[in-house]
């Protein structure tokens, strides 16, 4: 299973960050052509991202390109750069309907054919940033077999909801987080929590990470490399959890060897969901 705990935003027109972001080892690097790039620099940023995608340093890391929204004059050229450059995933911001994903998919397939990429190679993800997007999240998540993830984006959503961020358990995001997460799980794709904007507030960041982790998000979109290590450590299982996971897998192996359907460990049944959870815990531990 591909781990997607950390998705690091990298402004598409920032030469220094394009040249270094891979060294921080995020699970995914997301080159941004949208909000981080001014309208007059869109052309240059597009070329920067197109070239960076082909750099050998990004060969072994999942690359995502956030294109501009379908209501802008930029998105189709962005898409050319992303697909022709070899991006693993295209992220559509401000997604409100399944039809937007389907339109995006049509253009991605056209470009794949034109540049010789296998049709279906480029995956998609949607960012939900409005009340309409939250209400349509299930349809969006199921809109295409290319969909691999859905992300909650908080700033625009809260403006749309006539509220603002609070500290603590963040009731203003609770419904949207739960809705987006359920949509992702129903579609069997991954879910990313919102960015945490104050990069100097590790305590607040970790508090929010715990909320996301406990709800069941795969990870978060991140705006600063220093947040990667904090996030990975927070998502890492404890030693006791690792030890338990190893015992679960050993018990499952033994049951398999003996031809038993199920086995118990410490009085609790070890069934496929428990085995899957143990495998995920060991994968997280290894990656942390």
């Amino acid at each position: 299973m591909k781990l997607r705990r950390s998705m690091l935003f990298v402004p598409g027109d920032n030469g220094a960050m394009l040249s270094t972001s891979f060294v921080y080892n995020p699970d995914s690097v997301m080159f941004d052509l949208e909000d981080a790039v001014s309208p007059r620099e869109k052309d240059s940023a597009r070329l920067m991202v197109y070239q960076a995608l082909q750099h050998p340093a990004y060969r072994d890391i999942e690359t995502v390109v956030r294109i501009n929204g379908v209501d802008t004059p930029f998105w189709q050229e962005d898409l050319e750069a992303a697909v022709r450059g070899g991006a693993d995933i295209v992220r559509l911001p401000k997604t409100e309907t399944a039809q937007e994903i389907q339109e995006l998919e049509t253009h991605v397939a056209r470009i794949e054919k034109a540049c010789g990429r296998a049709v279906g190679d480029t995956k998609l993800m949607a960012a939900i940033e409005s009340a309409s997007g939250v209400v349509n999240a299930v349809a969006i998540a199921r809109a295409s077999p290319r969909m691999v993830a859905i992300a909650m984006a908080g700033f625009d959503y809260l403006v749309d909801m006539h509220t603002r961020r609070s500290a603590g358990w963040e009731p203003e995001l609770f419904y949207a987080r739960a809705a987006v997460l359920h949509a992702a799980r129903a579609a069997h794709i991954d879910a990313f929590d919102v960015v945490y904007g104050n990069v100097n507030d590790d305590e607040g960041f970790l508090r929010e990470v715990q909320i996301a982790k406990q709800l069941g998000f795969n990870g978060k979109s991140l705006i600063h490399p220093k947040q990667i290590d904090l996030l990975h450590k927070a998502y890492a299982p404890t030693e006791a959890e690792v030890s338990h996971a190893k015992r679960v897998l050993a018990a499952a192996d033994e049951a398999h060897r003996k031809g038993l359907g199920v086995v118990s460990l410490d009085g609790k049944m070890v069934d496929p969901p428990v085995i899957h959870e143990a495998e995920m815990a060991l994968q997280m531990a290894e990656a942390a």
Partner: protein, 98 residues
């Protein structure tokens, strides 16, 4: 491609470069490269700049590069952006940009 106006792309920040392109009265292609790492990577930078200009079929114009230690991929992108702006090329030919 024909350079028809002055244009710039990039920045003078570390790991980036600033590229200035302008029409040339003489009709020749004149490339000037200044870099903090010219002794170590001057030949490589010139090779990337020349290759990028060749692929875009830029035969005339003044091209001035102020490099601040950029990777090849950044150099290529900034040269392309400056040239495309200077040529007022609105329709990209992606095959020439790889």
């Amino acid at each position: 491609m024909k350079v028809i106006k002055e244009a710039i792309a990039g920045t003078l920040e570390s790991s980036d470069l600033l590229v200035k392109v302008a029409p040339s009265d003489r009709g020749t292609r004149d490339v000037v490269i200044r870099s903090e790492v010219i002794k170590q990577f001057g030949k490589q930078i010139r090779r990337v700049v020349t290759d990028t200009l060749d692929k875009l079929s830029v035969s005339g114009g003044s091209i001035v590069v102020e490099d601040k230690g950029a990777l090849d991929c950044v150099i290529r992108a900034r040269v392309q952006a400056a040239v495309l702006r200077a040529c007022e090329a609105n329709q990209l030919e992606w095959e020439r940009l790889s």
